[in-house]
């Protein structure tokens, strides 16, 4: 069942159209990764879901109810920036947000304790937030959104600034929430996390979703079994040779990559470019990063 439904949403700021018929759903038991370059409309989308902005047309609903009417405690949002009261302890911060989200009495205390335990912060419960490390602050920043057990959780770059251990702990927590049936919308620039943890991925470009699906669906965007990364001071010759063999080539972040339609050994690739000065050749599987760059850079999308 779709918890969040975004249907044909448009939004302009003056002459600039930021969202242009944006459509996607996030279902229960799902982590949906929303990817896009800066200015593609991700923040505007989140602001519309949180009812901070009204769309010009189209609809955004949570559990079938328009976001303008849905009770705010159905949404939990982890903002990109750490937004905590520095002069309150962790428990006091959690108490304040739990209370304004309608929790009270023993239930509130239990939730606070449970959330602190979930991110291993029980030992720092009574420490002023201003005295915590950046990683610890980020963990508190995250659990504030979980206190009231929302149906939809929006994570905006949740792991930025976290060390590997804290990041893994946080992902464990997020995956647990998914198991509990929550719908999770994630925006991040860490494509590896999206590839590893998201059930479905949507790539937003010019205010609309241009590619969407599970990782295996998105892999079809690049018709290649593997990618050959070639370093050469004569790229023109590489392009020509690739064209001769009917191979597609791309420049991804300065790296020249050849799409290999069938699995090949390095020796075979070296043979393909025989006679051209090549300083290195390596083979890589197609990753989300390549798919993302293909979608963002290719004007066909």
């Amino acid at each position: 069942m779709a918890i969040l439904e975004i249907k044909e949403v448009t939004k302009s700021f003056g002459e600039k159209r930021v969202l242009n018929g944006l459509t996607f759903n996030v279902f229960e038991n799902e982590i949906y990764g929303l990817l896009g370059p800066n200015g593609s409309g991700k923040t505007t989308t989140i602001n519309i879901i949180c009812n901070l902005l009204q769309p010009d047309s189209g609809a955004a609903t949570i559990n079938g109810i328009s976001v303008s009417k849905v009770p705010k405690n159905q949404i939990g949002i982890v903002p990109q920036e750490i937004s905590l009261y520095e002069n309150l302890t962790c428990t006091e911060n959690l108490w304040f947000f739990a209370t304004i989200y309608g929790l009270s009495g023993e239930h509130r205390n239990k939730q606070i304790k449970k959330c602190l335990e979930a991110v291993n912060m029980t030992g720092n419960a009574d420490t002023l937030v201003g005295k915590l490390s950046g990683g610890m602050k980020r963990r508190i920043n995250v659990i504030i959104a979980l206190l009231h057990r929302p149906d939809l959780l929006i994570l905006d770059e949740p792991t930025v600034g976290l060390d590997v251990i804290s990041r893994n702990q946080l992902w464990e927590l997020i995956l647990n929430l998914k198991k509990q049936g929550k719908a999770i919308l994630l925006t991040t620039h860490l494509l590896e996390e999206v590839e590893n943890f998201c059930s479905r991925i949507g790539i937003i470009k010019n205010g609309r979703i241009v590619a969407e699906g599970k990782m295996e669906d998105l892999r079809k965007i690049i018709h290649a079994a593997k990618l050959a990364i070639i370093e050469s001071n004569n790229r023109i010759a590489i392009y020509k040779r690739a064209e001769e063999y009917g191979l597609t080539y791309r420049l991804y972040g300065g790296d020249l990559m050849i799409w290999l339609q069938k699995p090949m050994e390095i020796r075979e690739v070296v043979d393909l470019f025989d006679g051209i000065p090549v300083s290195s050749i390596s083979l890589k599987p197609v990753s989300l990063e390549h798919i993302y760059l293909e979608v963002i850079q290719n004007e066909d999308y």
Binding site: S83, L84, Y85, L88, I100
Partner: protein, 254 residues
Amino acid sequence: MIKKYYYEIIAVSRRILTELLHTRNSLFFWMLFPFLMLMLFGFIDEGTSRSFEESAPGILIGAALFFSCLGGPIATIFAERKQLTLKRLLISPLSGISYFLGIFMAYLVIALGQTLVVYGVAFFFGGTFHGSILLGFSIIFLSVASYVGLGFFFGSKFARTAEDVNGPVAAIGVPLLVLGGTFFPPSELPPYLLKIAYLDPIFHMNEAFKGVSANNLGWSEIYDHIIFLIIFTILSLLMGIYSYNRMLNEEKRL
């Protein structure tokens, strides 16, 4: 629904008071300031019980509450922006009314603390509160409400940096305190300045509270000051709410 507002107001006000308790500095100086001012003005003016009785109202309403209840909300809004918690509040179920009333309640508690300090000193030196306590409390209530309203106005309009917080308070506030008779009786002002002082809300706060506290005046004798105060309080609240809402609309777009 009332329960929701009740819990929200308590949460906001408890949060502000807890933050102040943790930082201590503001609370300490907000209590020290009226204590020192009253000692100073009490002794400048002969050091008799009467001099403390006459100095206490101005020090409380004009000086102590001015800095805590006007400067406090400005600092609260500034901190809310600096810590990026404002947007988090915007997407929460917290209503704007609860937020405002929560801040008002927190500063009312501080105002009551300052009242205890000021009158504690005055009583220690033999002074007395002569008039109706209810009327006195009503004037304190109106003063706090108008200061908090102005604090919201200045806070949401100007408070983007620490300097922004101090600027308007010093530039506009201090002349109003002097003109309003906080530090010396308005009767010492030249006639043309006295006419201008009638437009100064602090003048009416001081005159009304001094009338009740030191001279046992009743409602009928100070009603013109109270009417001015009520109108000013409504105006400052409207200004505060209007500019706060404008600020929220800007924040929503960020």
